[in-house]
């Protein structure tokens, strides 16, 4: 079953790649037929750029982390190619003091490429740890630093690289055949990566850096996988270019070439493979056009293509920041057309939820401000508990402590026998607590179905003891089946709320933690939400902890209510008891009525 699904994915990727490469090949043939042999070399350049752009797409496009440093690895690959791809006699002259016993190593084209890709991937895997661990702008800065480090090493490690002059005499690949093969391979790999579990997780981290871990997706793993695959493709591109040109030099892969490749990626649309392909073709063509226009015999403008590059990037950003194609993608279109709902799983023995969730004596200070001062909450299996309190009472902070977003200074969080105090969001989610967010954190650019399928995928791996909820059934429950293929961002507000609920439920959690699920809703929608939450909780057999301001909503939905005020539990009990409690009225209305 699983093997068959894998086969379908690979076939689909091959098919999409074949169509794309056929289009590019047709255009290339039309272009070379009408001109001289020099046109072949433009095609060669485009093809190696093509591989590099796809390499960058795998990381930047899928994770949304900007990198300037990918060309450093193209550099490493090109030099690795030269070092084992130059015939021994030539090499002895060019690099008399070559270290590591590399003086008598010489491989054929396949061996050279394999060596270059492998060596580069090892280097990339080491740098990648730093890049993928960092957050915010730091990864971009690290890649930038990497670019300069490699550039300087290449320029100055003369025993290995012969310094500024570069190396020539690499055994050359004649014609463009191998570049075409490489481009096709790169296309297939980039396509397949987007279909794999880890690739889809990487995309989820791009869409929301906070929501993905809260649903059990580990940021580092997803990014690192994308990074390593991406560096592999970059190495392929770098090596093939070196073997095509027959020489390497330190100026081949600099910040400028990083930017050229980046422009190709963002103009076409970095999120999809089709976008990367379109961008490569357009920018290559535009660059060539401007080069010819700037020719001394025509307009006589030196560096005219630079103007084109800057202009194209600026226009793309101002007018279509997602690139020309945005999320439109040949493979994605095929995926939707070929979608068959998975056969409904045989209903297995449902393991009844037996664990209780208990946070007790939680203390949190932000500087001098005491947000939580010994507050706590307990939810029994299958129970719905409401958490209310005025603004600043510490409701969301308590939520964030339970889900691992805020570290508590004191107290414990227990799920059954398991201690979740000071756990990371990923571990909390995998242990069986799924949350929603106060201000909606959907994977906006992904389809409605993919939002739910992603967590369902996490459940399949990490929530094995529970029955995995069917994504389509959850969508149907939420009344979203009709819009399953639409981008999540295009849903109206109420439906986005319901989608977030369905997404959390797909994790097969023991408890759903809902942070103000009705904020911004009308009274009628709020009533409907009561039913939705109950239905979902019943379907997956989970308990619910829900925060809300709306006293009417909370009393209607909850079995048990906890009232927080100034970081402490003010009162708790059944809805009827709470309504009758004078302390609650005072905290809420500010009167002792």
């Amino acid at each position: 079953m699983n093997a068959r699904a894998g086969l379908v994915r690979i076939t689909r990727s091959m098919l999409a790649s074949a169509v794309l490469i056929a289009i590019v090949a047709a255009m290339a043939t039309a272009y070379t037929r009408t001109g001289g042999a020099s046109r072949q070399s433009l095609i060669a350049e485009m093809l190696s750029n093509f591989i590099l752009v796809l390499g960058m797409q795998v990381f930047i496009g899928n994770t949304g982390v900007l990198s300037f440093g990918h060309m450093a690895f193209a550099h490493i690959a090109a030099y690795a190619t030269a070092i084992v791809g130059i015939p021994l006699v030539t090499k002895a002259k060019a690099l008399p003091d070559i270290p590591f016993g590399l003086s008598d190593v010489y491989y054929g084209p396949l061996g050279v490429t394999a060596f270059a890709v492998l060596a580069t991937m090892i280097a990339g895997a080491i740098f990648g740890i730093a890049v993928c661990r960092a957050r915010g702008l730091a990864p971009t800065m690290i890649t930038l630093a990497t670019l300069f480090v490699v550039e300087q090493v290449v320029k100055n490690w003369k025993e290995l690289t012969r310094g500024a002059g570069g190396l020539s005499g690499i055994s050359r690949l004649e014609g463009n055949t191998w570049l075409w093969v490489g481009a096709f391979l790169a296309l297939v790999i980039a396509h397949v990566f987007q279909e794999t579990r880890i690739g889809r997780f990487a995309i989820a981290t791009r869409e929301d850096e906070l929501a993905a871990p809260a649903l059990g997706i580990r940021l580092f793993t997803a990014r690192y996988a994308a990074w390593v695959v991406s560096i592999g493709l970059i190495a392929l591109g770098g090596s093939l270019r070196a073997q095509h040109l027959g020489s390497v030099n330190p100026k081949q892969f600099t910040l400028d070439s990083s930017i050229l490749i980046l422009v190709m990626l963002v103009v076409g649309g970095m999120r999809t493979v089709s976008g990367a392909v379109l961008g490569t073709v357009l920018i290559t063509a535009g660059n060539e056009l401007f080069r010819q226009l700037g020719d001394p015999q025509r307009l006589d403008i030196e560096r005219f293509p630079d103007l084109f590059l800057g202009g194209a990037m600026l226009l793309a950003m101002l007018l279509r920041s997602g690139g020309l194609l945005g999320d439109r993608d040949l493979a994605g279109w095929m995926r939707r057309r070929m979608y068959r709902p998975p056969p409904t799983q045989a209903v297995g023995e449902r393991v009844a939820a037996t664990n209780a969730l208990a946070a007790s004596n939680i203390e949190v200070h932000f500087g001098g401000f005491v947000a939580l001062d010994g507050a706590g909450v307990a939810v029994r299996p299958g129970e719905i508990v409401g958490l209310i309190g005025p603004n600043g009472a510490g409701k969301t902070t308590l939520f964030n402590v339970i889900t691992g977003l805020v570290n508590e200074q004191g107290g414990t969080v227990m799920l059954g026998e398991r201690d979740l105090s000071s756990s990371t969001p990923v571990d909390v989610a995998r242990a069986g607590l799924a949350r929603t967010f106060q201000n909606l954190r959907l994977f906006k650019n992904l389809s409605v179905r993919e939002n739910v399928s992603l967590t369902s995928l996490v459940a399949g791996r990490h929530r094995r003891d529970r029955q995995r909820p069917d994504a389509d059934a959850l969508l149907a429950d939420a009344g979203l089946s009709e819009w399953a293929d639409r981008r999540a961002a295009t849903l109206d507000y109420g439906n986005q709320r319901r989608l977030e609920l369905a997404r959390a439920a797909a994790l097969a959690p023991e408890f759903l933690l809902l942070d103000e699920p009705t904020s911004g809703m009308s009274d009628q929608e709020t009533l409907a939400m009561v039913e939705s939450v109950r239905a979902v909780a019943a379907r997956i057999g989970a308990g619910v902890l829900v925060i809300d301001h709306d006293l009417a909503f909370i009393t209607r939905i909850s079995d048990h209510i906890v009232v927080l005020n100034e970081g402490r539990v003010l009162a708790e009990g059944t809805p009827t008891q709470i309504r009758a409690n004078p302390l609650v009225a005072e905290a809420y209305l500010g009167t002792s009525a």
Binding site: L144, Q152, G310
Partner: protein
């Protein structure tokens, strides 16, 4: 000892230029979460302005005015024609927009003037030397440090005492709240760009006084160091930008001077070593030295 003092003075000189630029970057980041890669181009604009000014018989006394005015104008203009239209976009889009502007600026100078360097005369006193206790200083070292100190002082006063400065700081804390308090978004952002432009203008003056020449890509190297300085300090933090700039300047100079003593033959890798240290720093402390808390609600 002499060597150490001399390299400290050199390092502070370079570092204070980084600091002025980093301050502008951090200021812009504060108000609109943009890491402005086009900021270095303001140096180029200033340099070309003084080149043309000289062509038409300008003198060194008016030069600072011309440079700073042109940098302010260019800075405000970039906001007006480009950044204003992507203000609500993702930081990724903002960053690439600034990158596009940087590329366009390079291309335009190459096409409109020349890809080659254009030199103009420097003031005669710049490299005059004088001695204090056996250590010789260049006049320019003293000028650089003094001018930077004054500019930083002025910046501190503006942001602590004036309504404009307080609005900008408020906007950096929480833009929506600042707006509700009556801060006008467009005016604050334009003002921040103007101020960042002025800071870049001062830096440009110091740079062209040392090496009086204009070149299309002259801003890029400075920009990269300044961005790194701002990120090291912690984007959004004013103190951080200054500390980051000075640290980077000292690191640059000291590694060039002392690396050969530490390890034979490593002087040619001094830049590589500096960048390795920077990368290592970001691994250990991704938010920079002075972490700016972002009030992101979840």
């Amino acid at each position: 000892m002499t060597k150490l003092l001399q390299s400290l003075v050199d390092g502070l000189g370079v570092g204070s230029t980084y600091a002025l630029l980093a301050l502008g970057i951090t200021l812009i980041f504060g108000v609109m979460h943009l890491v402005n890669f086009a900021h270095g181009e303001l140096i180029t604009v200033g340099a070309y302005a003084s080149y043309f000014f000289f062509l038409h018989g300008g003198s060194w006394w008016w030069m600072p005015v011309i440079i700073i005015a042109s940098a302010v104008l260019a800075s405000v203009l970039t906001e007006l024609v480009a950044f204003r239209w992507v203000r609500t976009a993702s930081p990724f889009t903002l960053l690439l927009t600034s990158f596009a502007l940087e590329r366009l600026s390079h291309a335009l100078w190459q096409i409109l003037v020349s890809p080659k360097q254009r030199a103009f005369p420097k003031p005669s006193w710049v490299f005059n030397q004088f001695k204090i206790a056996d250590i010789s200083f260049e006049v320019m070292d003293v000028v650089t440090i003094a001018v930077t100190a004054m500019t930083l002082l002025l910046t501190a006063v503006v942001f602590k005492r004036t309504l404009f400065g307080i609005s900008v700081r408020g906007a950096a804390e929480d833009f929506d709240a600042a707006r509700l308090m009556g801060v006008r978004a467009n005016r604050v952002i334009s003002g921040a760009f103007a101020f960042a432009g002025a800071l870049a203008g001062v830096a440009a003056c110091l740079i062209v006084m040392r090496s009086p020449a204009a070149e299309p890509s002259m801003g890029s190297d400075w920009l990269l160091k300044a961005v790194i300085a701002a990120v090291i300090g912690g984007l959004g933090s004013f103190t951080g930008a200054v500390v980051g700039g000075l640290v980077l300047g000292l690191l640059d100079t000291l590694s060039r001077v002392y690396l050969p003593d530490l390890a034979e033959g490593w002087d040619k890798f001094s830049t590589a070593v500096v960048f390795m240290l920077i990368a290592a720093f970001f691994v250990i402390r991704p938010e920079g030295v002075f972490k700016v808390a972002h009030a992101e609600r979840v």
